[in-house]
C-alpha cells in the first residue's frame, strides 16, 4: 500500500524538485519533516477519510503523468482583467511574487515581501501550517514557490482593499505551489481578496495560506476561484484568530475541474469571531469539495458557517464542516449551515456536519438542506409573464445572493454577478 502510494508521490517529487526554488523561509526541520511525511503517507486517495470524495492520488495518476514545470511569461495584459480599480493589486505569478506586475504600495502600514526575504528561525512561515497535518501542506512546505508575505502593522486601518492575484501559465501539465502569509498585527484592519486564475494549460495549484490575526485585529477575506475547468486545485487556509479579533472569509468557486478547499480556523483568542461563507456552482463533471474546521480552543468565541451549492449535470459538491469545541472552550457559540440546490438527476451533493464537543456550556447547531428549485416560486414568477429561463435565473441568483452580498467591494461584486449570471 505505502509502496504504491509512494510511486505517485515519488514521481511528483522528482518532477518538481528539478526546477524548484530553494524554500529558505521554512525551517530545515520542517522541510525534512515535510519530505518524510510525503514519503510515508503519499498523496491521499479515497480510502483516506478526509479525501473520501476527492481521490487526489487518482487525479495525479490520471491527469498529471507528465509534469513539465514549463511556464509562459505572464504579461500585464494577462493580469489586467483581474485587477480591481479600487484596490492595491499584487501578483503572484506561477507561485512567485512578481513586483513589476504589482501596484506600488503608497499606503502606510503595509509591508509586502517575498517569502524568500524571510529566512531562518525568525520566519513565521510554517508556524501555523504543519506538514504532519496534511499531505498538501507538506507538499507546500517542501516545494512552495517564492510566495507573498503581507503584513498590516499595528493599529493601521487600511482604507482600500488588497487584491492578490495568483495567476498560473503552465505550457503543459504543471504543479504550482503558490503560498502566502498574511499577518494582521494587533488593532489593525484590512480587506484582502485572493483571486485564483489560470491563463495557461492544465495546472494543479496547491495553494497554502497562513493567516495570523492578532489581538483586536480584523481580516475580511474573499477567495475567488476562477481558474477555468482545466484546472485542479487544493486550497488550504490555516488561520489563527487572536483575542477580540474577527476573521471573515467568503469563498466563491466559479470554475475548476476539481477544487478542494481546506479551511482550518484555530480560534485561539477569547472573545473572537470567525465567519466562513461559501458558494459554488458546478456543472459537467466538476468536483468542488469544501472542508472546514472551526477549532474552538478558548472560551467565549463565536463562529458561523454558511455554505451554499448549486449542482448541475454530473457534477459533485461536498461540504464537510467540523466544529471542534475543546474542553476549555466554554460559552462557545457555533453555528453551521449548508444549503444546496440539485438541478439534475445525475448530480451529487455530500454534506456532513461533524460536531465534536468537549465543553458543557456551549451553543452549537447545524443545519443542512438539499432540494430542487422551488416549483411554487417558479410558477408564481411564470404566472407574471416571466419566462422559464429568466425565472430560474432569478431564483438561483436569489439563492446565491445570500453569499454574494457578503462581498463589499463594488467592482468585484459586479464581476461576480456577471460571471454567476452565466452559470445560472
Amino acid at each position: 500500500m505505502i509502496a504504491e502510494r509512494s510511486i505517485t508521490t515519488q514521481k511528483i517529487i522528482e518532477a518538481i524538485s528539478a526546477k524548484a526554488n530553494k524554500v529558505g523561509f521554512v525551517v530545515d526541520t520542517e522541510l525534512t519533516e515535510a519530505l518524510q511525511f510525503l514519503e510515508t503517507n503519499g498523496i491521499p486517495n479515497n480510502k483516506h477519510e478526509d479525501y473520501k470524495y476527492c481521490n487526489m492520488d487518482a487525479v495525479f495518476k490520471k491527469e498529471f503523468k507528465n509534469i513539465t514545470q514549463e511556464f509562459n511569461e505572464i504579461k500585464n495584459t494577462d493580469v489586467k482583467p483581474y485587477k480591481l480599480e479600487e484596490a492595491i493589486n499584487l501578483v503572484v505569478a506561477n507561485g512567485t511574487y512578481n513586483e513589476s506586475l504589482s501596484d506600488k504600495i503608497i499606503v502606510k502600514g503595509i509591508t509586502i515581501k517575498c517569502l524568500n526575504d524571510l529566512t531562518g528561525n525568525s520566519s513565521p512561515v510554517g508556524n501555523l501550517a504543519k506538514s504532519n497535518s496534511d499531505a498538501f501542506v507538506a507538499l507546500s512546505n517542501a516545494f512552495s514557490g517564492n510566495g507573498i508575505y503581507v503584513q498590516v502593522q499595528k493599529g493601521n486601518l487600511i482604507p482600500m482593499p488588497i487584491n492578490i492575484i495568483y495567476i498560473n501559465s503552465a505550457k503543459e501539465e504543471s504543479l504550482i505551489n503558490p503560498r502566502s502569509f498574511i499577518h494582521i498585527q494587533p488593532n489593525a484592519e484590512v480587506t484582502i481578496t485572493e483571486r485564483f486564475v489560470n491563463v495557461g494549460k492544465k495546472a494543479f495549484s496547491n495553494f497554502l495560506s497562513e493567516k495570523l490575526i492578532e489581538e483586536n485585529a480584523k481580516l475580511t477575506s474573499y477567495s475567488i476561484q476562477e481558474e477555468g475547468n482545466e484546472s485542479f486545485s487544493v486550497n488550504t487556509n490555516q488561520v489563527k484568530v487572536g483575542r477580540y479579533a474577527t476573521y471573515d472569509n467568503t469563498t466563491i468557486t466559479l470554475s475548476g475541474q476539481l477544487v478542494r478547499n481546506n479551511h482550518n480556523v484555530v480560534i485561539a483568542g477569547e472573545n473572537s469571531q470567525s465567519h466562513l461563507n461559501g458558494l459554488f456552482l458546478t456543472s459537467g463533471t466538476q468536483l468542488v469539495d469544501n472542508h472546514t474546521l472551526m477549532d474552538h480552543q478558548v472560551p467565549n468565541c463565536e463562529s458561523s458557517e454558511l455554505y451554499k451549492g448549486v449542482i448541475n449535470e454530473k457534477s459533485t459538491g461536498v461540504f464537510n464542516g467540523k466544529i471542534y469545541v475543546r474542553k476549555d472552550a466554554q460559552k462557545t457559540n457555533a453555528y453551521q449551515s449548508s444549503k444546496n440546490i440539485l438541478l439534475s438527476d445525475d448530480g451529487t451533493i455530500n454534506t456532513k456536519p461533524q460536531l465534536e464537543i468537549y465543553a458543557d456550556d456551549v451553543k452549537c447547531s447545524h443545519g443542512t438542506s438539499t432540494g430542487k428549485i422551488d416549483e411554487n416560486a417558479l410558477f408564481y414568477l411564470k404566472a407574471r409573464g416571466i419566462g422559464d429561463e429568466s425565472a430560474r435565473k432569478l431564483l438561483l441568483a436569489a439563492f446565491a445572493n445570500e453569499v454574494v452580498d457578503k462581498i463589499q467591494i463594488e467592482s468585484l461584486k459586479t464581476h461576480l454577478e456577471t460571471e454567476l449570471n452565466k452559470l445560472y
Binding site: D374, F379, Y380, K382, A383, R384, I386, D388, S390, L394
Partner: protein
C-alpha cells in the same frame, strides 16, 4: 374575452373539474362561488397554467387563441392574471426587480422595448397609491415577511402594474379584515373598464358587497350548477351551501 367549454381536469388521476362551461365578455365581472372542495382553486390553477393538473377534455379560447396550448408565462403575456389565494414568498428576489423583469418580458413578447427607468418608477408610485401599499414593502423581497393582508394587496398591486385583460381573483378576500377588503375591492373597481374582465372566486358573499358582479355562478362538484345575477349570491348567503348540495344530490338521484 374567454370561452371555457366542457373543461375536465384531474390531478393524480382524480377528476376535479367535470365539465365547466363559462363565457366571459369584456367589461364583465363574474363571481364564482362554491363550497370547499368544489373545484374553485383548481379552475383558477388550470387557467393560469399550473402543470400539476391534467386537462383531459374540453377547450379554453382566450381572445381567439387556444389558452391550453400556451405556457403559463405566455398566458400572462397574453393578458391573463391570477391573483393567488396563497401568494408565494420568494426570499432574495426584490419586488422591484421581479416587477421590472415581468413588465419587460411581457413588453418583449409584444414586440415593445424595455420600460424606461423613470417611467417604471412613476408607474410603481402611482399604483402603490391605488392599493395603499407601503412603499417600504416594494423594496423588500417578494412577499417575504408580509402579513396576510399585505400579500393580498401586493397581488392587486401587481395586477394594477401589469394591467391584464382578464384577472382571476382566487379567494382574494380570504383572511382579510374589513379595511383590507375595502382597499382590495377599491383597487379592482378602479381598474375595471369596458376593455377588461374579472372573475372573482370566493366562498363568501361579503366581497360582492364591494365588487358588484354582473353574473354569479355556483360551482359544485366540478360543475357550474347554477348561474344568475348578483341576487343569486344573496340567496346563497341566506340558504347556505347545504341547500345547493341537497338539490344537487336529489338531481343525481
Amino acid at each position: 374575452m374567454i370561452s371555457i367549454k366542457n373543461l375536465h381536469a384531474s390531478i393524480n388521476g382524480k377528476e376535479i373539474l367535470k365539465g365547466i362551461n363559462l363565457e366571459v365578455k369584456a367589461g364583465e365581472i363574474h363571481a364564482i362561488m362554491g363550497p370547499n372542495g368544489s373545484g374553485k382553486s383548481t379552475l383558477s390553477s388550470v387557467l393560469a397554467g399550473r402543470e400539476d393538473y391534467d386537462v383531459t377534455e374540453g377547450e379554453v379560447i382566450f381572445n381567439g387563441k387556444n389558452l391550453l396550448d400556451m405556457s403559463a408565462e405566455d398566458r400572462a403575456r397574453e393578458g391573463l392574471f391570477l391573483a393567488f389565494q396563497y401568494p408565494i414568498e420568494i426570499p432574495g428576489v426584490s419586488n422591484i426587480n421581479f416587477l421590472k423583469t415581468a413588465i419587460n418580458e411581457i413588453r418583449a413578447y409584444n414586440g415593445k422595448e424595455a420600460i424606461e427607468a423613470k417611467d417604471f418608477l412613476a408607474l410603481i408610485k402611482e399604483k402603490q397609491k391605488l392599493v395603499e401599499l407601503d412603499s417600504k414593502l416594494t423594496g423588500r423581497s417578494v412577499n417575504e415577511g408580509f402579513s396576510g393582508g399585505e400579500k393580498k394587496r401586493n397581488e392587486i398591486f401587481q395586477m394594477a402594474i401589469l394591467e391584464p385583460k382578464l384577472a382571476i381573483l382566487d379567494e382574494t378576500d380570504s383572511g382579510l379584515d374589513i379595511d383590507a377588503l375595502r382597499i382590495v375591492a377599491n383597487g379592482v373597481n378602479k381598474l375595471h373598464s369596458k376593455n377588461n374582465a374579472f372573475v372573482v372566486i370566493t366562498h363568501y358573499q361579503r366581497l360582492l358587497d364591494h365588487i358588484v358582479p354582473d353574473f354569479v355562478h355556483i360551482l359544485f362538484d366540478g360543475r357550474i350548477v347554477k348561474s344568475g345575477t348578483k341576487e343569486l349570491a344573496l340567496e346563497l348567503e341566506a340558504k347556505g351551501y347545504d341547500e345547493i348540495k341537497h338539490q344537487f344530490e336529489k338531481l343525481q338521484g
